[in-house]
Assembly symmetry: C2
Homo-oligomer: 199 residues x 2
Amino acid sequence: MGSTRDKIITASNELFRRYGYNGTSLAQISEASGATTGSIYHFFPGGKVDLGVAVVNTTGSIYRELFEAIAGAAENPVNGVYDVFVGAAATLEETDFIDPCPIGTIAREVANVSDPLRRAAADAMNSWIDAVTAHLTAAGVDDDAARALGELSVSAIEGGFVLARSRRDASVLVRSGEQVTKLIRDAVDAAPLTQRSGT
Amino acid sequence: MGSTRDKIITASNELFRRYGYNGTSLAQISEASGATTGSIYHFFPGGKVDLGVAVVNTTGSIYRELFEAIAGAAENPVNGVYDVFVGAAATLEETDFIDPCPIGTIAREVANVSDPLRRAAADAMNSWIDAVTAHLTAAGVDDDAARALGELSVSAIEGGFVLARSRRDASVLVRSGEQVTKLIRDAVDAAPLTQRSGT
DNA sequence: GTCTATACCAAGATAGAC
DNA sequence: GTCTATCTTGGTATAGAC
């Protein structure tokens, strides 16, 4: 848990969210994590790209689990995704509008430069979409419709981060969450009654 | 038009889209534009940040005009935004998935570092949202609803770029465009008949 | 308004002792 | 597994002739 490797990943995650991938130096990571550059290369022989992939993989899993926890705690299937939008907005304001997600930033910076990083980002976001899809199909929505809503949800959140941070106003995430929720409600309402597990 | 200043902005725009803001060096810009670093600092005394702001402002205007052209040419008010999603998907595939928009990337990289760049990005995206809002209010949608749909449209496009480039598959933009269009159709259908200008 | 040359510093990465 | 020291390259920015 508190291993050196974990400390390096955690520090990198925070720095990437603040300064981006290319905007963060290994010297900063070394200082913030308390590990020397020698240690960093010990755990990540491929250097910064290896480290970036580890950050993306770790964050991808954590956010998928976070979605499942929030959606599972929602009062009904329709509100699960909405609660995520609201939670993201709150996080942004509490953290002085630091990027909640290093993955989207890294993906945009290096999608045309590093294949390992691009693929790791795609895998992470696909795992979120899978989770939303599963959440909605459990409420009776058919698979294609559920997946399209999952893709829109992830896109709207990632794009919402750009808008919210630029404006220094997170309320757009709440409004977009409301819009996406309208579509989700329609899809759940259209589902065969026999497969619905809630309202 | 073909002035040195314009060549510097154009070259920077393309490089930022490929490698990001921090991932692009002034030496690269110098080589791609044919202008020396001395020339670059002559036109942009504030250095890279000044140049970035100019790129964001220029691109912001061009894309706003492009939206108005596409939406104006649509067969009906409901399809204007959809056509933009489809056009963005086509552009991505034609350009080997280079980022269509330097603004979103720059915003995520430096929103917590450079206030001038952050504000320029916010202004650019707000101008797009204003344009979508005007497009929808002209079809009879009330202002708040139109603006929320404009925000969702821009968020879904910007977030869609992240997903599409990571996957190297642009089809998600078409699907998200369909979802957003459902909401737009509902809003236009709900508009008072006296204010509607089309179907 | 454009050029060459360069100052100055930070980047990623590595070597090798411990 | 961790450390210090350093190599090499590239970064932004500037100086000053033309």
